[in-house]
Symmetry: C2
Subunit: 204 residues, 2 copies
Amino acid sequence: MDASRATGALGEDRGPAPARKRTREPEVRRAAILEAARDAFAERGFARTTIREIARRAGVTHGLVMRHFGSKERLFLAAVPSSQNLMAEVAGDPASLPARIARSYVRRMSNSGGNDPFVALIRSVASGEEAAERLLRAMQDDSLEMYRQLVPGPGLEARVSSVGAYLIGVTFSRYVVRSGPLASMSDEELVDHLVPNLRAILLG
Amino acid sequence: MDASRATGALGEDRGPAPARKRTREPEVRRAAILEAARDAFAERGFARTTIREIARRAGVTHGLVMRHFGSKERLFLAAVPSSQNLMAEVAGDPASLPARIARSYVRRMSNSGGNDPFVALIRSVASGEEAAERLLRAMQDDSLEMYRQLVPGPGLEARVSSVGAYLIGVTFSRYVVRSGPLASMSDEELVDHLVPNLRAILLG
């Protein structure tokens, strides 16, 4: 997306274009890099995706990607919903937290049509890619931090770890094996199925 | 293991050796093939393991393995605990079924030191091996059949599928990623952690 076209589309205020360009372009390019990264990681897995390939898809230079994100690992963590995004989605009353987790998970997987970097990450970890293992651990640490703020209590680490394991297994059944009841449920049925199980695992 | 040595070890009754050989050897060789298959599948995954390699490890001919099992898929299904074995382990009162599932799962993974064909199967499925996907589905169909007899009721397919997903996720965390609370728990702690979660998922 071109910043000058976006400004033009407003149909008014063609004001100081260079200044607009400076303020808008970094956001636009950042978003383009993140979208290219999500697509590339989902299609090719973590190990086989290069910064160069992501830059090419986003129509920017390799150097710009590095300036924005510093490394492939950081770019991946930025491309998958971070604990900050999740926090915004699931924050609120602990009693209805399982429902918000289920809806957030199902919406995210549904939006990406199962072609989510999380699926690629599970595949990469399973094939023994160490960098992918470090990433999955980083994501798990992030989500533990988030849960600590929402539902503190004894044994939280184990309960959160089990929630993660359950969602990994559901992802595996629905988006990797793609057969059986978990694969054939509609999004709404899946939410209804997940909520009581997540409640039991997370809140006991 | 040589059948004549086994007979000798009894220190008595060196009776009609050829007859003994005929009755004992098939069992002994079958067991040796299954053990070699478990090791090979666990070490090399499903796709890269050949019948020839299993025959070599078991000290038998390729033809004998084929006569006993017919195909690599059938050999795999015979090598991992089948629904028959599981049925014997978990049969009984539905109320304590979750505890028996947890103990049976933990004991089996513990006995194999995490070097279980089930872990290899998960890795193979994740890397997109179609034969491995068919195998995992066959195992899931087997276990559904087993649960149908133990805990009939509406929605059973989805509940059993979710139990399978949860155990796949736990296996993934404990034996593939090998970090976090699920990886560092002792076997007993893992059983205690799993039982209430399996009960909630399976029995509601």
